[in-house]
Symmetry: C2
Subunit: 345 residues, 2 copies
DNA sequence: AGGTACTCGGTAAACCTTTACCAAGTCCGT
DNA sequence: ACGGACTTGGTAAAGGTTTACCGAGTACCT
């Protein structure tokens, strides 16, 4: 039996050969008419264009890519799309490149190092012009990043892997944490009543740097480490209260954690900011959906993604190639909101 | 000048020819050794494999796709990655297909009909084996969907376009809304104190159906329409209070709106659920991050994405092709939480 | 008229695979 | 010893583009 009634569609089928045959010219002429890469008589061009239109011709980008050794596309591998910060980042990367007519394809590695590997292999096999990676893991992703970097321009975003020879664009996490500590310092004697850090285990550079900066500023402050998740924040809050902590400042390593902390604290009947002040990191769009609105460190996402565009376009054009170990780090801002008012008087 | 010091990488370079030359066999042999598509002497195969490994050979999927007329990939076009429901959906689609060794590439159309078009053109040109679309707009996306469907198996997810001949997988929005109304009905005499609907303008089928179902159940209830956004919910809440509404039930068309409503209501000093009950739709993961936790209609996302896998795989295998107008609609559940307790006594 | 310069269409190679077909060899049965 | 079946490697085509090169035509100059 052929294909059934509600059957499926014909595969693209119509090629330049068909168009050429229809007009009675060679495929070179068709190619030139469509691309405009060489001047030709207007009359003939119009004929070709009309035929292409009539037959419903669509260029096969695989053929073109094979010939041109260029795909005008980029791969973006993110660890997890459910983390709002990453999905916002992904959206912004696409947006920044779309102006330059480069398609960004997003692949979620689902926090799985094997899937991250597969994503990169797939992108490389499909000959993307470049790769933007937010590595899953500070150590385990190292081989993946190097694999990518060995055949195509590769830029790590937001997180980076422990390896000196890879390009990176991100924000100055240590500086961000410094802003947080200074902000709290204005109101509280942090030595007498040190804040508590609710962070993530140092399996990614961002977790690492934020923890590190906090620990350096306030070596004696308590630190709890879990994952970058709402649930962890919630649990940490609950644990703290179980331990008898009923007030203070809580500094977190990410907004998703902070939101969990807020929920956990409120669930036990404590108030923010009256009992606990809470501070986030990343300033994800949805963070204002917390009540009260969340103080957070805002990453300069636009600057970051624009920098990536510059680097990639520079590499493709062949001029101004960014050195393999280029690191571009931007200073974040502290957005002070209700969860930690700046003047508590 | 050639390339500078920290220069960029060699384009993949090593092909089957190189491997063949290195071993001293033909490229057919290399292909067969790598694919195992035909038995061959173990000794020779090992040699080829060793050489491929040594030279760092990686298959060029463009060449393979051209030959095989198959890419083992799928395009997924979403309207907006910043909407947590869509990013969760995207993640789940990828996850469902990864088991079948099909790569899902995600493209954000950024709520722009032109960009949606470009995404589809790009995917088609790159010969994806199928396309999953969450259309931006109920009317304007129609041409885009039909374009996609004309050359590759195409399935609309969650939202669909006004056109009879397109495949769709989604949830029964009308049923979901019915659950909401019944739930409220148990506690309140809805005719005396009708709930207020805060929805989205009917530019997508989901907005449309949800509004419609609500209006049909409670023709006299007040309805406010805006966009699928936090800001709109916030503003609607504020407007209502300005108009003197100080208590009641608010039914929304999406969690993002509901979260905005909650924030807006709380900002004016009213309490949930004591003063206002609020109900969402979609049950996005982050919705529990509201305080109080949000009652919401949960879409059966797993069932939906698994169904898509079945349809696509069926089409690819050639058997059991789903008819072009197949509609698979699943019943959602109501998750009752604190924002609208079920027994208010 | 003959030469130069330019225009504009076609031919064919190249990009990288996979595989139908072929050829040569081995093995076995009769 | 010969033919059939099977094994196993190679050759070449095909998949869809783009473009270097070629060749034919035209226009213009001397």
């Amino acid at each position: 039996m052929e294909t059934s009634a509600g059957s499926t569609n014909k595969r693209s089928a119509v090629t330049m050969h068909d168009v050429a045959a229809h007009v009675g010219v060679s495929i070179a002429t068709v190619s030139r008419a469509l691309s405009g890469n060489r001047p030709m008589s207007q009359e003939l061009r119009d004929q070709v264009l009309a035929a292409a239109d009539k037959l419903g011709y669509r260029v096969n980008l695989l053929g073109r890519a094979l010939r041109l050794q260029r795909t005008f596309s980029l791969g973006l591998v993110v660890p997890d799309l459910e983390n709002p910060f990453f999905s916002a980042l992904a959206q912004q990367v696409s947006r920044s490149f779309s102006k330059s007519n480069i398609d960004v394809f997003i692949y979620s590695a689902d926090n799985d190092i094997k899937l991250e590997h597969r994503a990169i292999q797939s992108f490389l096999g499909r000959q993307v012009d470049g790769l933007v990676l937010i590595p899953c893991h500070e150590i385990d992703s190292q081989a993946n990043v190097l694999l990518a970097d060995s055949s195509v321009i590769t830029i790590q975003l937001d997180r980076l892997v422990r390896s000196p020879q890879t390009r990176y664009v991100g924000c100055d996490n240590r500086h961000g944490m410094k802003l947080v500590v200074e902000h709290l310092h204005r109101d509280v004697d942090l030595n007498r009543q040190p804040p508590i850090f609710v962070g993530a285990r140092a399996t990614s550079s961002s977790a690492h740097e934020r923890l590190d900066a906090f620990a350096r500023s306030l070596p004696n402050a308590k630190r709890l480490l879990g994952s970058f998740s709402f649930e962890w924040g919630q649990q940490a809050a609950s644990d703290l209260i179980d331990q008898g902590v009923t007030a203070g400042s809580i500094v977190t390593a990410a907004d998703v954690i902070a939101l969990g902390v807020i929920a956990g604290v409120q669930a036990r009947g404590y108030r923010i900011p009256e009992d606990f002040r809470v501070i986030g990191f990343d300033d994800i769009g949805v963070s204002f959906l917390a009540h009260p609105a969340l103080t957070s460190v805002r990453q300069p996402v636009d600057q970051m993604t624009n920098t990536i565009v510059d680097i990639v376009l520079g590499d493709i054009a062949g001029h101004g190639v960014a050195p393999r170990n280029a690191r571009r780090v931007f200073k974040p801002d502290l957005m002070i909101r209700e969860s930690s008012p700046s003047s508590p008087l």
